[in-house]
């Protein structure tokens, strides 16, 4: 991760990387616009991804997430604006750029008829590795992504999780500096999703910069350090995850006393301990739980302490993240503009 990036529209030599002393951004996007007829898929997007970090781009279906990734991976040309990725200008240096990016997502996929091994070998050859290099790189990645046993089978026989792992492996062949993950876990079951998250975290520890698009607050929280929320092609919020969470109310703690008769006592204990912020703890009689908004792990510990100090036996404590809908509601005052699937783990929260 050496070359810094240049944000301004300085003239860039065809073969050189833009550098600016001290600029820590691996991805810099300014005023990116892409219209499809009347539809403004991107309507002036600005964002930065610091080197070696994960930026989550959160938004509902149709918010422009995929269009953004396709612009940044040179698959489509933006109507206006600029973007510099790993020091290369997206518009003027597409070929150099393609060498230093990896792409995994809903769209960029593998050849279903080829085996896992052949897929990786093919991409290695297309990235100008020698035959021997391409072969050993493929073996290494198969090993790393636990696909060695399935290496000979055609990709269309793989399970959903194996497919995503192969997708990830495929995008890692060129040792990219910047990796785009376009909704990497949409449509996966929770266990498989956790597998993919674990792989992404490993890549980040290797120093890859990641731009991750997602519909799930939980996924963003798991993987990203910073978040950009987009809606209808526009950035509507951005910043560190904890800042945004503070803005949207953070997590909700759901406490179920062993005896439903103690619901009110539990709520009162928390109110008295001053742990429920300006409002009161909310009693949800239907599920016999008390709801408390919390912003930090320390607060969670304090809540548990306050309840046990009263000697109230508890049956369950769960934390819930705000759903995309709730995030949108608190950031924009309106519901997410397009319908989306509820995040698998968050369905309960909506109840």
């Amino acid at each position: 991760m050496a070359a810094g990036t240049l944000v301004a529209m300085t003239r860039i030599d065809k073969n050189s990387r833009a550098t600016a002393s001290g600029s820590p951004h691996a991805v810099s996007v300014r005023g990116l616009v892409k219209h499809y007829g009347e539809t403004k898929a991107l309507d002036g997007v600005d964002l930065d991804v610091r080197e070696g970090t994960v930026l989550g781009v959160l938004g509902p279906n149709g918010a422009g997430k995929t269009t953004l990734v396709r612009c940044l991976s040179t698959l489509i040309t933006p109507d206006s604006g600029s973007a510099v990725v790993a020091g290369y200008d997206v518009l003027r240096q597409p070929r150099q750029l393609r060498r230093v990016i990896g792409l995994t997502g809903q769209y960029a996929s593998v050849d279903e008829k080829l085996s896992g091994r052949e897929n990786l070998y093919l991409i290695g050859r297309l990235l100008d590795l020698s035959r021997a290099e391409a072969r050993s790189r493929a073996e290494g990645l198969l090993e790393r992504f636990s696909l060695t046993e399935a290496a000979k089978r055609p990709a269309n026989t793989y399970s959903g999780g194996m497919r995503r792992r192969l997708d990830l492996a495929a995008s890692m062949i060129g040792s990219p500096e910047v990796l785009y993950l376009d909704e990497p876990t949409t449509g996966l079951d929770p266990r498989t999703r956790n597998e993919v998250w674990a792989e992404v975290k490993r890549m980040v520890t290797d120093g890859v910069t990641v731009l991750l698009t997602t519909q799930y607050m939980e996924e963003a929280e798991q993987l990203a350090s910073e978040l950009t929320v987009i809606d209808r092609g526009k950035v509507i919020a951005g910043g560190r995850i904890d800042e945004l969470k503070a803005k949207v109310g953070g997590r909700t703690l759901r406490i179920r006393p062993a005896d439903p008769a103690e619901l009110t006592a539990t709520a009162a204990a928390l109110d008295e301990a001053g742990l429920t912020g300006p409002g009161n703890a909310l009693v949800d009689a239907e599920t016999a739980t008390v709801l408390v908004p919390i912003l930090s792990d320390e607060q969670l510990t304090a809540v548990v302490g306050a309840v046990s100090a009263r000697g109230i036996p508890l049956a369950a404590i769960t934390t819930e993240l705000p759903s995309l809908d709730e995030v949108f509601l608190s950031l924009t005052g309106h519901k997410a503009s397009a319908p989306q699937d509820p995040a698998p783990a968050l369905e309960e929260a909506a109840a």
Partner: protein, 290 residues
């Protein structure tokens, strides 16, 4: 066919201005903007290999190239042979129709390129290719190379069936020249279908459209029957139909029958013009497909 064995050095190092330190990523050191001819060949070879692996994976995909020449030859020789050349006189029709069928099959296989290419787009693997630092034309060229291979298989089977049914060839170099001519014209037509494969929404649409265009071209030609008894307006059409030229050129070359130079030239000119117009269109559409 496998990829080139040589590993070309990257043509140019990027002139990187003072970066803060050496970059650990090996890929980043190859920031060359241009793709050299050797790299182009290597990429095309790797993609050809991909398409050949498909055939190994799914041998049924060769069925059309294997069965089409058998079925068409048998059908046309026995159904039309008697009517056109007189009962019991099928041998004469074999010699007439086999060179024509060679031209016809090229069209049908070319149409298959378009549908196959279209299906490639549905899976998302094309986006992967398009996000790699390769000349995007190598994806299309690889497709054409493989289809020419399939055309050769189909042609070999066509000739074998033809010989069984009484085909006679007096000019073997001429036969090879005719085959080469059919390949050149077929690959030109493939650019049209590749463009359709990129532009049109579904493989079915391409197939439907393809038949609508190919049927009049194939039957409104000298492929199946001599054109001299057709109405004048149709003869005008068949005279300008490149499939007539190709079929007539092949007939002439197979058996030294009459002058072929005119038909060969007409076919070649059509091929060059179609390729010159459609190849850039196909590559452009492929490059800018959203």
């Amino acid at each position: 066919m496998s990829a080139q064995s040589t590993t070309a050095a990257p043509p140019e190092e990027p002139v990187r201005t003072a970066g803060p330190g050496p970059d650990p990523s090996p890929a980043a050191d190859r920031g060359d903007a241009r793709i050299g001819l050797r790299a182009h060949l290597r990429h095309t070879g790797a993609l050809v290999r991909r398409n050949l692996l498909w055939i190994r994976q799914d041998p049924e995909s060769m069925m059309d190239a294997v069965l089409m020449p058998i079925i068409f030859t048998v059908l046309f020789v026995f159904v039309f042979g008697g009517a056109i050349s007189g009962k019991g006189n099928q041998d004469a029709y074999v010699n007439y129709v086999v060179p024509g069928l060679m031209a016809m099959m090229g069209m049908n296989i070319a149409m298959g390129v378009g549908t196959g290419f279209n299906q490639d787009f549905q899976t998302g693997v094309m986006d992967r290719f398009r996000s790699l630092p390769i000349a995007r034309s190598s994806v299309l060229v690889a497709k054409i190379v493989v289809e020419i291979g399939r055309m050769m298989v189909a042609t070999a089977i066509l000739l074998a069936v033809g010989f069984l049914l009484g085909l006679s060839i007096s000019n073997v170099p001429g036969m090879f020249a005719a085959i080469a001519l059919a390949m050149v014209f077929g690959s030109a037509i493939m650019w049209i279908f590749l463009t359709m494969g990129v532009v049109m929404k579904s493989a079915q649409a391409i197939q439907g459209m393809g038949f609508l265009v190919l049927m009049p071209l194939q039957f409104g030609s000298s492929i199946f029957a001599p054109t001299k008894d057709m109405p004048d307006w149709l003869q005008t059409f068949t005279d300008y139909n490149p499939l007539s030229s190709l079929a007539d050129a092949a007939r002439g070359l197979f058996n030294d029958a009459g002058p072929v130079a005119h038909d060969v030239w007409v076919t070649l000119i059509w091929s060059v013009v179609i390729t010159a117009v459609m190849a850039p269109v196909a590559i452009h559409k492929f490059r800018t497909k959203t």
